[in-house]
């Protein structure tokens, strides 16, 4: 097998996204001729140091602003040239908004297999995904010209450093004008204060069962009493405009794997389960004893969340003294 590549999401401050380190850890176990990374956009060269520590022997990098200013196309264009030059067997991508754009456009340009939602990868020829809320594991054979492209669900692998270091190969950011079409004019942050939902030890998510948007304050109070806790939401309430999209846990939102996940007034649609079922422990509060979420809960309380939440916050404050 030729090289295994990972496409790394990097931030302008030089941080490599956790997903890139997960992918590198997996890539090292696949037995390719080399494990290499591609990082494009401001911060890429600096992030290459971390990518090397997690197993990339080479990082093809460019810090050019064009990759941040235009969505998808410039990165897909550069990847296309790199693939033509180096012929990797497999490229792993994180399931992030922008990586999906890049992988999709690369697949179309070169006629490559593109698998989504992978939860495990065995090589360029096969990968796994899960369906129906993780109750079924599906083996998928990948065919056609290489490289095969696989989008991997976040937190599918635990990142482990390899202690290596990467050689950085600067790549050209010279992209044609027709790749500069989807232009980013301004970025807005809507994240809540406190720990990031992906990193928090405890995640408390609310759904329709909370009744109205104002009741999310009960979740904020509970999170504050616990400390190192973040508030999330189901798609139903994000769609209803109760909280910003950045709160959403599930297939289209965040994937979380905290020590404890508390689902409040969430029935447990497949869409939601995909984003939280790997949590270490799950607590569910719901009025409906038949809610699917209870099949996944270690502790389930059938009852009125609006009564239970204030008491719980008080109880935790008392226990913490």
């Amino acid at each position: 097998m030729a090289a295994v590549w990972i496409y790394a999401d990097v931030a302008a401050d030089g941080t490599a996204d956790a997903s890139a380190l997960e992918l590198l850890t997996k890539a090292r176990s696949l037995g390719g001729d080399a494990v290499e990374a591609v990082a494009l956009g401001p911060g890429a060269t600096q992030a290459a140091v971390t990518l090397g520590e997690f197993g990339a022997s080479t990082v093809y990098a460019s810090d050019d602003a064009v990759f941040a200013e235009y969505v998808g196309d410039p990165a897909a264009h550069v990847l296309e040239s790199l693939v033509a030059e180096h012929h990797p067997s497999l490229i792993l991508f994180a399931t992030s908004y922008t990586s999906r754009d890049v992988a999709g456009r690369l697949s179309a340009a070169l006629g490559l297999a593109l698998m989504s939602n992978a939860t495990d990868v065995s090589g360029p020829d096969s990968a796994q995904t899960q369906i129906f809320g993780g109750t079924r594991i599906v083996d998928v054979a990948l065919e056609g010209p290489e490289p095969r492209l696989v989008l991997v669900r976040p937190k599918s692998f635990a990142p482990e450093p390899s202690g290596g270091s990467a050689q950085v190969v600067q790549v050209s950011a010279d992209v044609p004008e027709d790749a500069k079409r989807v232009r980013v004019l301004a970025k807005h942050e809507e994240a809540a204060s406190g720990p990031r939902i992906e990193d928090a030890k405890v995640v408390i998510s609310g759904g329709r069962g909370l009744g109205e948007a104002g009741n999310f304050a009960l979740l904020d109070d509970l999170a504050a009493s616990i400390g190192n806790a973040a508030v999330g939401a189901s798609r139903a309430v994000v769609d209803a405009g109760w909280v910003p999209y950045s709160y959403q846990v599930g297939q289209t939102g965040k994937t979380v794997k905290p020590e404890v996940y508390i689902a409040v007034g969430i029935s447990g649609a497949i869409q939601h389960l995909v984003g939280m079922k790997e949590s270490k422990r799950i607590v569910a509060i719901n009025k409906d004893p038949d809610a699917p979420i209870f099949s996944y809960a270690d502790l389930g309380i059938v009852g009125d969340a609006l009564k239970i939440l204030p008491k719980l916050t008080e109880e935790i404050r008392a226990r913490k003294g």
Partner: protein, 256 residues
């Protein structure tokens, strides 16, 4: 302003899907409907045409025979017509093949905007629209929670991990929309009656000039197995001690 809206017929979107002996989702003999996420696309398309004061919304769908019935919902909401590609060869088509078929169907028409949901309720690969845009040679504005057309420019708020970004792209363009674009309208009685007489073009892959080489999927399901089941948890009725039980559980988990 001519808008193409992609509409997918999915098996029972609110129920538990089933897998057939060939490891593919059962689509025949299962009651289905237009993917609920596509209703947002239809709504967004209708609004663009209404604002422009001219033009049409055309639904484009690929699917089995009943797909025609599935897109009725979109026609009753107000879409002006539909194109449906049906072909047994397309069973189990992956994102790339689906995009090739849709690109062939859309490429024959004159359009300003192509609208799609972010991902389907049944396959949820979430990449087909970007593949399609590249095949059509147009920009793709993904994860739009709002959109507007101003002259020859599409403007959108694109969702990001931390919030959203203001983005713009020249027309023609493809845009994938979330529920943020606006509540889908209910079909009126007049709309429902009128839907039956709207033009629906039925095509096969042969009509589109596609060959077997275009239609071979590069992904095949080779097995489906049950995931290990999680041990049953403790489910109790709240008798007033629910809060205490949870607090004790959190303490045992050492998070408080």
């Amino acid at each position: 302003m001519n808008v193409i809206v992609l509409a997918k017929y999915v098996p029972n979107p609110n129920g538990m899907p089933e897998i057939g002996d060939d490891f593919l989702l059962k689509r025949e003999g299962v009651e289905g409907a237009m993917d609920p996420t596509d209703e947002y696309g239809v709504e967004a398309g209708l609004r663009l045409v209404e604002k422009a004061g001219e033009g049409e919304v055309t639904l484009v769908s690929m699917g089995p025979e009943p797909a025609v019935a599935g897109i009725r919902k979109g026609l009753s909401m107000g879409a002006h017509g539909a194109v449906v590609v049906t072909d047994p060869a397309l069973r189990g088509a992956d994102a790339l093949v689906t995009a090739r078929v849709l690109a062939a169907a859309i490429g024959r028409r004159q359009y300003d905007v192509v609208i799609s949901g972010v991902e389907s309720t049944d396959g949820y690969t979430g990449t087909m629209p970007m593949v399609l845009a590249r095949l059509l040679g147009i920009p793709s504005v993904t994860f739009a929670r709002s959109l507007d057309v101003d002259g020859g420019t599409l403007k959108a708020e694109r969702q990001t991990e931390a919030g959203y970004a203001d983005v713009e792209a020249p027309l023609p363009a493809l845009v994938t929309v979330t529920a943020g674009v606006g509540e889908p309208r209910y079909p009126t009685l007049k709309g429902i009656m009128g839907a039956k007489s709207k033009p629906v073009e039925n095509l096969t892959t042969g009509d589109l000039g596609l060959t077997a080489g275009d239609l071979g999927s590069s992904q095949k399901v080779t097995g489906v197995t049950a995931a290990p089941e999680k041990a049953a948890g403790q489910i109790v009725e709240d008798d007033g001690s629910g809060a205490e039980r949870i607090a004790a559980f959190l303490q045992e988990a050492k998070v408080i």
